[in-house]
């Protein structure tokens, strides 16, 4: 890799920021998925059923 020169801080900040935002997006989506599955499990445990008769957590 070549030297990043006098503006290395701008380059490193840009790449770090992009990586941080992408990781945050991935974590947020994964957390949201777990949250929705948890809510469906709770609803299923309380006796809620879908119109089709399938379980709430069935995909």
């Amino acid at each position: 890799m070549t030297s990043l020169g006098p503006y290395a801080s701008f380059i490193v900040t840009s790449y770090t920021l992009v990586a941080a935002v992408v990781v945050l997006l991935i974590i947020w989506i994964a957390f949201d998925y777990r949250l929705q599955k948890e809510r469906l499990r709770e609803l299923e445990a309380s006796g809620a059923t879908r119109r089709s008769g399938r379980q709430a957590t069935d995909i």
């Binding site: 020169g5 840009s14 790449y15 992009v18 997006l25 998925y33 469906l40 609803l43 809620a48």
Partner: protein, 243 residues
């Protein structure tokens, strides 16, 4: 499975379970290759190493507009065909598009400071992209503010289509007005003006970030379908308890 089957949220969910691992794997591989190529790309004769910011700024800028384009198609799906997944697709895409637009603005600003001598200039390109970012935030607020999903879907679809008018303004702003921002160097009449040493890593990164969008979008759509399932089950339960 035919395309029409995907209109069924349950069938769409079963498809996402199968394709998401492959999409995530392909995205990771392509982005790794792209980041390696970006690191190894030579310095530009004028910009020096700051040209490396281009490899992340340009894909995010393209995607900021592409995602709104996807949302506009979904808005047509909501208003014209009343496709059951259209609003799901638009709502799931908005935060991802907002993130790409935010990154395009900030990386552009960090690229502009050493090259133009300023972080920000109220010129046509920068201002129209800032407006796009604010429209993303506005749409997300609208979906949250309206309780009834079908009413929210129609209002958001209309706003999305109105906002789509901003896309050609962003694209052609560098040609219509005097601006600090450089004109198009890749998607232009007469072909790209970039040297292959920069063009190839840029295109690899662009495809990698596009795949990243598809992966995140499919996963976010899955979440949105499950959220709507939670809501309908809660409503059914509430009405059973009231009866």
């Amino acid at each position: 499975m035919t395309l029409i089957d995907l209109a069924n949220p349950t069938k769409f969910l079963s498809l996402t379970a199968r394709v998401l691992p492959w999409l995530a794997g392909a995205t990771a591989i392509l982005l790794l290759i792209g980041f390696y190529q970006a690191a190894m790309a030579p310095d530009d004769y004028q910009q020096g190493a700051t040209v490396k910011i281009m490899f992340i700024h340009v894909p995010n800028a393209w995607l900021s507009m592409f995602v709104w384009g996807v949302m506009s198609l979904a808005a047509l799906g909501t208003l014209v065909w009343r496709h059951p997944l259209a609003d799901v697709a638009a709502k799931a895409a908005a935060p991802i598009g907002a993130a790409f637009t935010f990154l395009a603005l900030v990386t552009g600003s960090l690229w502009g400071r050493p090259m133009w001598g300023t972080y920000w200039e109220w010129d046509a390109r920068l201002t129209s992209v800032l407006i796009l970012f604010l429209m993303y935030l506005g749409l997300m607020a609208l979906w949250r503010a309206v309780d009834d999903p079908s009413r929210a879907a129609r209002a958001a679809a209309v706003l999305t289509l109105v906002g789509a008018l901003n896309l050609p303004i962003i694209k052609f702003s560098v040609e219509w007005w005097n601006t600090l921002h450089q004109p198009a160097a890749v998607i232009r009449m007469g072909g790209p003006t970039l040297d292959k040493a920069f063009l190839i890593p840029l295109l690899v990164m662009a495809v990698g970030f596009s795949l990243l969008f598809v992966t995140l979008h499919v996963a976010a759509m899955r979440n949105e379908i499950l959220r709507r399932r939670v809501r309908s089950l809660q409503m059914m339960q509430a009405s059973q308890q009231a009866a």
